[in-house]
């Protein structure tokens, strides 16, 4: 039996990372912004049924960029995790932090053990009583987890968006202002106009009791953002 070629672990990880990064760069981007009313999630998504943003639990939402089938699987696993935990303990015991850690472990294991890494980048966000208690976790294809404050971006243009938001983001802005900022950031990074029907927007509404996740229709977005075309 012929021996397989020797590939150093370092080389193997590099190849996998490059492969995953290439897959993610092809996809569109998603922005999360913490504001006065809650946590706003904005994704460029031409499909109205294949979602990139989803409710996970009362205060927690999920966003995935990259390969749809892979982040969809992660999304469902997250909902199962949250519902099981909430049923076994209590609704308050389901936190974004523990969910983000579980994602980090799982994605990290797949990256180091499987031939093909996941071509995904995900966001797990939790809305608190006030902006100071908001939490945002960005988890990349290798399981690396980053704790973000105020704003976060994932997907193809994540880096450009991060730089843009770093300059323009302000704390405690209204929903309308947050949405306008997100649209401007997406337009700047893609260098073209964004239209409402190509956007998927949802909010974790701070003031809403119980399940805080709510989606916006294209018509609502036009009403909120003013100069946005449907």
């Amino acid at each position: 039996m012929p021996l397989p070629f020797y590939v150093s672990p370092e080389q193997m990880m590099q190849d996998k990372a490059e492969y995953a990064r290439k897959g993610i760069t092809k996809g569109k981007s998603i922005i999360a912004l913490a504001g006065k009313q809650g946590m706003l999630l904005v994704a460029e998504n031409p499909s109205s049924s294949l979602n990139k943003i989803s409710e996970v639990y009362d205060r927690i939402a999920f966003a995935g960029a990259g390969k749809y089938s892979e982040f969809e699987n992660l999304r469902k696993a997250g909902i199962r995790y949250a519902d099981l935990k909430g049923y076994a303990y209590g609704r308050e015991d389901v936190t974004a932090k523990s969910l983000a850690n579980a994602y980090s472990q799982t994605i990290g294991n797949i990256f180091s053990q499987e031939m093909k890494p996941l071509e995904v980048e995900i966001l797990v966000v939790e809305v608190g009583e006030a902006t100071a208690q908001d939490e945002m976790y960005r988890i990349s294809f290798d399981g690396a987890i980053a704790d973000e404050r105020g704003y976060a971006s994932i997907g193809g243009q994540a880096e450009e968006l991060r730089l843009y938001l770093k300059e323009k983001y302000e704390e405690g802005t209204t929903l309308e202002a947050s949405l306008k900022l997100a649209v401007k950031a997406l337009e700047a990074s893609a260098n073209q106009k964004v239209r409402a029907h190509n956007l998927e927007v949802a909010i974790l509404d701070r003031s809403h009791p119980g399940r805080r996740f709510r989606r916006f229709t294209a018509a609502e977005l036009v009403g909120l953002a003013g100069d946005l075309e449907s």
């Binding site: 979602n51 992660l74 469902k76 519902d83 099981l84 049923y87 523990s98 799982t106």
Partner: protein, 263 residues
């Protein structure tokens, strides 16, 4: 708790049964005698009736342990999701578990699939869950729910009643179950009109509970001294709403005052 990427179903019930079976009550292998079951808390009367805009669902607040009162403030009517509610009668422990499991089941499905189950789908799922309980029902741990929902596709309210085998029957007008169920049904029979408005429906529901409380020792009437009143919820095209306690108190007051003093 772990992230499970291999599972693919949309049912929370199946997920728990498969992954964390100890979370569900399973005493099929044990055998209780009536003496042991006597002291278990039992929920008493719950009812539902249709009216012009949808369905009203209500229940008294008492649970009994044999001839003792277990609690005066138990909640037997629950919001299942935005467009449906469940009321339960039977042994309190398994009843409350069923209600909570059913709520989680509907929410879980909605989040995974991105759409609510149809009213029919919810009613069928509940039927399967009641059937799961059948071996325990044989030993006396009976769970009997009433399920109501607003079917937005057909634009009408629906009432489903169940038996211990999981049998699911749609009711056209009204239904009541639990220890005072037959008295409540007799009361609603005289008052129910399909075109009645919300106020009349709430009145009829509370009057039926009042009648049940007069005839059945397990059912509690409105308690003006302690300030404990029946729970009433309405399910319409606008979603599920709690009828506020002030309103329930006022209607109960009217019912009480309308009764002949010599009773």
């Amino acid at each position: 708790m772990f992230l499970d990427l291999s599972y693919s179903g949309s049912s929370f019930c199946d997920l728990v049964t498969g992954r964390l079976p100890f979370l569900l009550t399973r005493w099929d292998h044990l055998h209780f005698s009536p003496e042991e079951l006597g002291p278990l808390a039992k929920g008493t009367t719950v009812l539902a009736l249709k009216y012009r805009d949808g369905v009203a669902i209500a229940g008294d607040r008492q649970a009994t342990e044999g001839t003792q009162i277990a609690t005066r403030r138990i909640e037997k009517v629950f919001k299942a999701d935005e467009h449906s509610a469940i009321a339960i009668a039977g042994v309190a422990g398994p009843c409350l578990e069923l209600a909570r499991l059913f709520q989680t089941e509907l929410e879980h499905y909605e989040k995974l699939e991105g759409v609510e189950l149809s009213t029919e789908g919810k009613a069928n799922k509940l039927s399967q869950m009641v059937k799961m309980n059948f071996p325990m029902a044989l030993q006396g741990l009976v769970v009997i729910p009433i399920f109501v929902g607003y079917d937005r596709r057909r634009d009408e309210g629906k009432i489903y009643k169940y038996d211990v085998t999981g049998g699911r029957y749609e009711e056209a007008e009204y239904h009541a179950t639990g220890s005072g169920g037959s008295h409540a049904r007799a009361s609603m029979k005289k008052q129910h009109r399909a075109e009645m408005d919300e106020g009349a429906a709430i009145h009829s529901a509370l009057e039926a509970l009042y009648d049940a409380a007069e005839e059945d020792i397990g059912t509690a009437g409105p308690d003006f001294v302690r300030g404990i009143f029946p729970t009433v919820k309405t399910v319409t095209a606008q979603g599920i709403l709690d009828v506020q306690e002030d309103q329930v108190r006022a209607v109960c007051q009217r019912i009480m005052e309308a009764r002949p003093r010599s009773h």
